[in-house]
């Protein structure tokens, strides 16, 4: 840049003056007298002029994909695409230029993993910030190489799980399993390994984190959702369900709330959405049933009164 030690040229009349680059014309101009002292500087402006009403999709001034410098060490490579005209195919119908040589070989696996992460997140409609966080986690784990032997997909799934947790919207392992080909066991193992490798820890899951998702999937109105949240929270506070997974407690609370309202749901339906077996819901329900009157919120409108709640 012209702020460095003036490389070769100075203005003959004003040797101390700063030279200004005019990149449009490719000149270096003395700022004092305006003399042009250097020329044929490489023009970094756009190659073509773009007009506002031109086909908006093809912007000829952009010649590369959006860079992802944070994640893949700067992607300044060029790839030769498949030919389009008739000349690119030889006699038998095979294309003449065969491989797109693997350009970014050092991070091919990482880019593959990013693609997989985006696919998985897409299936459960996760927002972009979680996907970005997942990508960052994956990069950190990948660079550390302590989990190198593990399948990349497993690490990606575990990173997705951790990212959801860190953003405050945890997904159950079973939900991540549903969009990944890796077993729950393997994801759990990778999860523990990643926590150890990155030396982070995550917050514990609470029953409230899942209420809105489960209730919406079941089509339950807001009243029932709030009641279920209240029931679950109270149950955990009173320690009625020691040692039970928060998901099972949440499912049982939803069952109780829905059975007391007009929108009843069976245990099987709830079990299906939450990913818990209906016997598990039954077990947790049995634990909270005795204290049912205390668990409901004060202003709840009962469609089925508390004593008529089903007893399993």
């Amino acid at each position: 840049s012209s702020l460095d030690v003036l490389p070769r040229v100075t203005c003959p009349n004003h040797p101390d003056s700063i030279l200004v680059e005019d990149y449009r014309a490719g000149d270096m101009i003395c700022s004092e007298c305006g003399l042009v002292v250097g020329d044929r500087v490489i023009d970094v402006g756009s190659e073509w002029r773009t007009f506002s009403n031109d086909k908006a999709t093809k912007d000829p001034s952009r010649v590369g994909d959006t860079q992802n410098p944070l994640l893949s060490d700067g992607d300044l490579s060029t790839m030769i695409g498949k030919g389009t005209g008739a000349a690119s195919f030889d006699e038998f119908g095979n294309s003449k230029y065969q491989n797109r040589r693997t350009m970014s070989s050092s991070d091919r696996a990482m880019m593959n993993a990013f693609k997989e992460i985006t696919n998985m997140a897409d299936r459960i409609n996760l927002p972009r910030n979680i996907v970005d966080r997942t990508n960052n986690l994956f990069k950190q784990v990948y660079e550390q190489k302590s989990l190198k032997g593990r399948s990349n997909d497993a690490i990606a799934s575990a990173c997705l799980y951790i990212a959801c947790r860190q953003e405050g919207v945890p997904r159950t392992f079973k939900e991540i399993c549903a969009v990944s080909r890796i077993s729950k066991k393997e994801i759990g193992r990778c999860f523990k390994l990643i926590l150890k490798a990155l030396e982070t820890s995550v917050d514990l899951i609470t029953t409230g984190d899942f209420m809105s998702r489960f209730c919406s999937n079941l089509g339950l109105p807001k009243q029932v959702q709030m009641a279920a949240t209240h029931i679950a929270r109270k149950a955990v506070e009173l320690d009625l369900v020691p040692g039970r997974s928060p998901i099972s407690v949440a499912a049982a609370a939803i069952y109780m709330a829905s059975q007391a309202s007009a929108e009843k749901r069976t245990q099987k339906e709830i079990g299906d959405i939450a990913g818990v077996a209906d016997v598990t819901i039954r077990q947790s329900y049995r634990l909270i049933y005795p204290r049912a009157p205390d668990l409901f919120p004060a202003d709840f409108k009962f469609d089925t009164p508390v004593d008529k709640l089903p007893q399993l």
């Binding site: 159950t172 392992f173 079973k174 514990l204 899951i205 020691p242 039970r244 997974s245």
Partner: protein, 161 residues
């Protein structure tokens, strides 16, 4: 947590795992055919031998390495291992009892009170790890003693290491 009544804290050793080497190659087929109380697992390449006197299950590889599990104390583990070596000697192998090492001791202990796992985990952040979806117990690791404790909400604790 339990400072004054340390007296009545019974801790039982339930399992001791040890390894030893017979410094000779063992013919697994021969052991499988001639030994008593043996199970031959050909797909993995090992023979299981169960002894009754000290209740021991031993996994024998053809390289001569033997892993002994099921003993209730370290002494018993050593007895069982020696008895096993004697068995193999009787079958005709030149067995030398070397490198006896206790690898793992598992003990179970019971607290007279229940434990609230989420609060416990919050107070013991670096050492304790709790994942209710994966396992219903808190996993507490003590690096200095190389021990892992699994703490259940009912108050029973499993110590391994």
């Amino acid at each position: 947590m339990d400072a004054d009544s340390d007296v009545a804290l019974d801790i039982l050793i339930t399992n001791v795992v040890c390894v030893f080497r017979t410094r000779c190659h063992l013919n697994l087929r021969k052991i499988a055919l001639e030994g008593a109380n043996v199970i031959y697992k050909r797909d993995v390449g090992k023979v299981l031998m169960k002894l009754r006197k000290p209740r021991i299950t031993a996994t024998i590889w053809s390289s001569g390495k033997v892993i002994c599990t099921g003993a209730t104390s370290e002494e018993e583990a050593k007895f069982g291992a020696r008895r096993l070596a004697r068995c193999l000697q009787k079958l005709g192998f030149q067995v030398i009892f070397t490198d006896f090492k206790v690898v793992n001791v598992l003990a179970v202990c019971n607290m007279p009170f229940e434990i609230r796992l989420p609060e416990f985990t919050k107070n013991n952040r670096p050492h304790a790890s709790y994942e209710p979806e994966l396992h219903p117990a808190v996993c507490y690791r003590i690096k200095t003693l190389r021990a892992t404790l699994q703490i259940f909400s009912t108050g029973s604790i499993t110590v391994t290491g």
